[in-house]
Symmetry: C2
Subunit: 371 residues, 2 copies
């Protein structure tokens, strides 16, 4: 019996696909959502709870873990799997986006990103080679190539100077992607290339084609979810996907609102991550089958019903809106935790339903029903 391929597609419904990503630490049924465990823990939620809500893979932030506690320590403690107790697959970002958004005195040149750490004030450099070395030390099942995100002010319309900067960043991302491929030292991590190109369809198409020519285990859509219109985003995803190998997984980074996830699935995306289920949870905002519920609102003060009557999570089985409202109002940590568990279950359950709908050939009807 030969080893299974990294990805196999089990069902299609128009451009949407259902499939399986095979890693040495487990299989991920796609389309899939990776909860974010920035520092190696999903805020306030334990590994066994993540299993209970249906998580299959977690995302850790390479830059945060590089700063604290450092990848060498995590490697010595058995990688992310041994260190954190989450034994399933781990996805890591490259650290590039986090450095760009968090660090001071940023200089981006051909070599890499040089920055001053906000933690200790020390000047450091993140290169493509370093990004791969750190992710391999963390024990990532899926690692990401280092990319240069488009400048946040760039519209990407042809001919203006912002557009030139977006093109330059996209082209540098390609050169860095090639260096990342060459820097791989272990064959236990899959490596994904990243499509850039701002909000320009031609640029993103060029980026996808050239990244695919380099050859990766999967492909991510980067630099999106930064304020662009969600409808325009669907066009950008579809245009790039048309240039990517059909047989390999596609990952949309950092997008979490339910309707936006489903639209991207319809455009052929297989994998997602986002902080929104836990961030919304901490703020008392719940995803439910009837829309967003802002549980800190006074009208939930004496509402004895479950947060979401259609949800099968531990929070909805055991606790009322009134209790969560109270816990959130008095800033009791259990409130954020219970709300986060529900939001994770809602998001992961949504993707379970999406997989079933794709297999049954009724994904479009399902997607329209969620609006």
């Amino acid at each position: 019996m030969s080893a299974p391929p990294f990805f196999d597609i089990t069902a299609r419904d128009a451009a949407a696909r259902a499939g399986r990503i095979h890693t040495r630490n487990g299989v991920i049924e796609t389309p899939a959502f990776a909860p974010v465990a920035t520092f190696g823990a999903v805020r306030g939620v334990a590994p066994e709870e993540l299993g209970a809500v249906g998580a299959q893979i977690l995302l850790a932030n390479t830059y945060h873990l590089h700063e604290r506690p450092g990848e060498a320590l995590i490697e010595a403690q058995g990688g992310l799997h041994g260190f954190t107790g989450w034994r399933g697959p781990w996805l890591t970002d490259s650290g590039g986006f986090q450095v760009t958004s968090m660090a001071d005195r940023l200089v981006i040149d051909e070599d890499g990103v040089t920055f001053t750490s906000p933690l200790d004030g020390v000047r450091r450099q993140l290169t493509p080679e370093r990004a791969i070395a750190v992710q391999e030390a963390l024990g990532a099942d899926i690692a990401m190539a280092l990319d240069e995100c488009r400048p946040a002010d760039a519209s990407g319309e042809a001919g203006d100077s912002a557009s030139l900067r977006v093109r330059a960043a996209m082209e540098r991302t390609l050169r860095w992607a090639e260096r990342c491929r060459a820097a791989r030292r272990c064959d236990t991590s899959a490596l994904f290339g990243i499509v850039q190109g701002g909000v320009s369809e031609p640029l993103r198409r060029d980026s996808a084609r050239a990244t695919a020519e380099l050859g990766f285990d999967g492909y991510a859509h980067g630099g999106l979810g930064l304020g662009e219109d969600p409808e325009r985003r669907c066009g950008l995803l579809a245009a790039a996907n048309a240039e990517l190998p059909d047989a390999l997984p596609r990952y949309l980074m950092g997008i979490g609102p339910p309707a936006e996830i489903l639209d991207a699935v319809a455009a052929g995306v297989d994998l997602f991550d986002c902080v929104i289920p836990t961030r919304h949870g901490r703020h008392g905002v719940l995803f439910t089958s009837r829309g967003l519920l802002k549980l800190r609102n006074a009208r939930f003060r004496d509402d004895g019903g479950p947060p979401d009557p259609d949800c099968d999570c531990a929070t909805c089985a055991r606790h009322s809106r009134a209790y969560l409202h109270h816990l959130l109002r008095v800033n009791e940590a259990l409130g954020a935790r219970l709300a986060s568990v529900h939001n994770l279950r809602f998001t992961l359950g949504l993707l379970e339903e999406a997989r079933r709908a794709i297999a049954a050939g009724r994904f479009d009807a399902f997607r329209r029903g969620v609006r």
Copy 2:
């Protein structure tokens, strides 16, 4: 078959006792420890985890819940049991100690305690009758009479003015205890009287004798753990216990360090509560079979061993000192939660062992081994 008594003693070992408190929501094997759920939740810990670590009864703070969300709301949501999801027994304090330590512009007179709420600036009054009404609305299985704590600066040495104030507070506590008895409207809560008298043995003996004469379902030792020498405290407990009915439970309020709990058990105390397992947990201080472990300390940075190798809790089964050190250092909420779960299990396990040791007639040897 007749109903069981409120308390039955199943074993004795010198002055230590093992027994059972029977409430309508469950039996509490004593000596027992009640984790503190100030606002109706043990900080960051869910009801099912409390069951898993062996909790039998929780303590809620009446004053906090009176302010937010209010006892009327909790009563309408099925009392603390229905509102919080902890279906086992609930113990409530009277609110007196919390008001005294938290509120502004405090005036204590024969009627009760008048204060300005730090929450909304409104002037309120807590009387013995009100303390009972609030606790009954909360659905307490064990309620406490309103007491006047000794002034914090009072040494209680005979003859000085502080001593006179301590005696006056003790005597007022007796009059309030009588009013609390008369104010009971439901027979589903047990009511405990509170022994006061500062650190004066004669005063505490007088207080115990007079409180016992009034007649309660159990008796608490109040106003201790406020800086007095633990050895002196044992003398005070023994002196008061000698005046209390042997057949009824005795509760030492607010004391949590393991050795101090066991010393009080040796003096005949049956019930405890304290915030220390969760407060220490949030600060990364763990009780272990080898003494206190300050997990934020740099020496635990790469310690892959379990927090306490002799512990059977979920935290010790699944996570390392290095992981907890990291989570605590980056202020990740899961760290406080995992440490709190361990400290609760340690404390509750200690009392399980104490019960077994009393039943086997080897409590003194057990107690000496814990030092």
